[in-house]
Amino acid sequence: MNLIMFLILFPLIPAIIIRLIPSERVRTSTVLISVAIIAVASIFLAFSSLQSGCQYFKLPFKNAGTLITVAEIVLAVTFLFFCRRLPFRKMWIPVIIFIQYIPVQYFELSGKVPVPVNYLILDNLSIIMALLIGIIGGLITVYTVGYMPRYHKEHPEYKDRTSAFISTIFLFFFAMFGIVFSNSLSWIYFFWEVTTLCSFIMIGYSRTDEAVDNSFRALWMLLLGGMGFSVTIVYCSLNKSIGTIELSQITAMTNPMVMFPVVLLCFAGMNKAAQFPFSQWLLGAMVAPTPSSALLHSSTMVKAGVYLCIRCAPVLHNTSSGTTIALIGGITFVVASAIAASLSHGKKVLAYSTIANLGLIILCAGVGSSLAIWAALMLIIFHAVAKALMFLCVGTVDQQTGSLDIEKMRGLISTMPQLTLMILIGIAGMFLAPFGMLISKWAVLEALAEKNPFLILTVVFGGALMMFFWGKWMGTLVAVTGKHMNKEKYTGIYEWAALYSLTILTIGTCVLFPLTAVYFIHPYIMTIYPGFIGDPLFHHDNIIMVLIMLGFAIFLPLGFLVHWEKLHYSVPDLGGANVHDPERFMGSMGESREWHLGNYYLNDIFNEQKLLLPANIVTLLIISIMIIAVII
């Protein structure tokens, strides 16, 4: 209990320190120390309460409710403050703020909102989330420390506000821990909005026009999601048959009335998880410095969205609303993968693949069966680790080469072998068989096998597309161009530390996935589906197979270190038009010309412009129909 409070509140301390003391030395040491503390605390928390099932905690002090209300008002005012310079035609953004805050505040201040008994919750789901936030978030923060100075050296046109940036990160930790440990909807709501705020600040960090635009887009989209909460809170207060704003109670109800708030919560969740049609904010977020993309928009914040949906999953199980939500997830999965296949901008590909993977998780949550939740949790873990790794690697590559274009990464294995290996591990973690995501995909397929053939189609097609674009990327990296210039030496110690730890984590999670399953996931599932006895499909043989494959996948590439005798080096086949430089050929006009290779992006078939609009419209329709159906 105290540990939880500590985790939630502690990040505020470094946030304030860093904000107030602009010295770089202090900043660095504060970050390192507090990150270590947070990580240790979350690990400790995990080990101390892993086996203790679901625990609820009351608050030690009375006026928590009012505290939150005050905080919420402060938050709303902050939002409004940020909106002060908006041009008139964007004035509807503050209107959204008013619309969602005024009713809630009215209800809360007038005491109509039921007072929760258990403010805090601690079960394996929160523990998993806390670990992800504490460890991965921490590593990203460490990386940030090394990254930001370089970022500013590269972009002298931006004002150096590193302190603000890092303190926002800590603020964000505060919010995230808050979300995952709170049980009261109004608390979650508050923290939720804090993450929105953090996101807003970070996206707008560089203060270019594009960044500002994108940050406001993120703001209104996310606020829209927050609306889901405010309506839920109001509804739960009004509807006497619910009469509680405790999340755990709501999700445990069998009352059909409960469907409406749950759907709204999922709406908020999907919004934060950037599902279609709300995906645009996440893409806009890619203008932010890479660590924040990694932190906010792939590994952690969006996970808040899926976290909420998973919390709701038991209610969604076997309902039409659940299937609809799963459908949206499925569509998002396919379409986002297809779009990712058509893009060559590294960060955008990462963004879309994030959206796609979140779609898969939402799909699982929507299905809500025990195996689906199993898969969803696995996906969350693997995705968070691997994606964080990917983002940081790509950020580093960007710093070294000045480009995020995947095409420009051709032959990176020659110039930055270590980093490339990390990216490769990250990518492999995303879709290749023995690695993490595939285990989850396997579980998803098995979970869906009897549920719904249509959803299965989305998964198989989306999966194939995903393989396509990751495959391209991997291939581009491993092309050996023979230019051996080591650019890696410019990477600093903090970056390497973060990168290496994440790499080890990625492999570790894969190797140890049976343990993860048994110790983290199964207990959680057992709390919601008491009949769950571990997944029968993952029997002995399969696990052994997976592990054998893993062994091969990890150890075979080590063969690269050995030199094979009796090789005869030759030049590539250029149809006989070779000149002495293997990278050039004799062109038609009689001059030597460089050949150049570019991946396929299938723009005729998959195309961001072409796919986005229909996908948005369709999903929007589905969501509206779902909400209307639930109301009726």
Binding site: F461, K472, M474, V478, N542, L556, Y569, P582
Partner: protein
């Protein structure tokens, strides 16, 4: 024990059977073209010869990738013959293919690069159908376990004709036959020399050939699974399917990737999807 025996049998006999099948294929193809054709053992001669050749490389990495390709292909087959999870077989196959693609990429040569792109496209075209086949088996036989699928009493083909058709359709891609031999093979030389394998020479190319034998047998085993309850009929039918593939190979020009991708997805959606749906309703 039985599983080990299966694995062992696969590792040893698949290349033999695959090689002979390829030899027969070449003879039949030759006859269909009015030619006489090579000896039956020709594929073995080819591979043995390749091992005697110089190992020409552009750089030294693709050998390892190809080795991994072969290993994972064998793993994939082993999972199948050990009677394990069907999906796992497909996934391992994907990994194997991925290594092949990586190998082609790593040579950094124009034609292999385009071959690699096309191989990726082919994987994109094939993968959904393979997974759907697995799910079809699950719905029809009640389990993903191949051991279990094999022991189902009635031939599963009756329950999943659509899926069978879809599988045969993408099989053409998988065993690299015209009209879908986009990325490599003896036939796709028209645009991209030898595609994927352009830069592999000597022993490394031999690995690809051997892998191709394994792949062929693996694919035919998929076909066999539909008739698993009658093993003899199953084997005959698998061979018949192979023969049909040869005929298809000889009666079609090679199509473009757009057609390959679209048609196989449509077939997957229509035949695979509808079949799945029916299985689901019947269940």
């Amino acid at each position: 024990m039985k599983a080990l025996l299966g694995i062992f049998g696969f590792v040893i006999f698949a290349p033999l059977a695959g090689g002979i099948l390829c030899g027969l294929d070449r003879i039949v193809t030759a006859r269909m073209q009015g030619r006489y054709g090579p000896p039956v053992l020709q594929s073995f001669y080819d591979v043995l010869k390749l091992f005697q050749k110089q190992n020409l490389v552009v750089n030294r990495f693709h050998g390892y990738f190809l080795f991994c390709f072969l290993i994972f292909l064998i793993i994939s087959g082993s999972i199948l013959y050990a009677g394990d999870d069907f999906l796992m077989v497909v996934f391992a196959l994907t990994v194997a293919d991925m290594f092949l693609v990586m190998a082609a990429y790593s040579t950094n040569s124009p034609y292999s690069f385009i071959g690699a792109q096309r191989e990726l496209l082919q994987m994109l075209a094939v993968e959904p159908m393979l997974l759907i086949t697995g799910i079809g088996f699950y719905l029809a036989a009640g389990s993903f376990d191949i051991g279990h699928i094999v022991s189902v009493g009635k031939p599963l083909i009756f329950k999943m004709p659509g899926i069978f058709f879809g599988l045969v359709y993408v099989l053409t891609i998988k065993i690299r036959k015209s009209p879908f031999d986009l990325s490599t093979s003896h036939h796709a030389h028209q645009e991209i020399v030898k595609g994927l394998t352009t830069e592999f020479a000597g022993p490394t190319l031999a690995l690809v050939e051997i892998a191709h034998w394994y792949e062929t047998i693996l694919m035919l085993s998929f076909v066999f699974l539909f008739f698993a309850s009658q093993p003899v009929v199953g084997i005959l039918l698998a061979i018949l399917i192979y023969f049909i593939e040869i005929i298809i190979d000889n009666t079609n020009a090679r199509v473009k990737w757009q057609f390959t991708l679209k048609s196989s997805w449509i077939v997957t959606l229509l035949f695979g999807g509808i079949n799945l749906f029916i299985l689901y309703i019947l269940k």
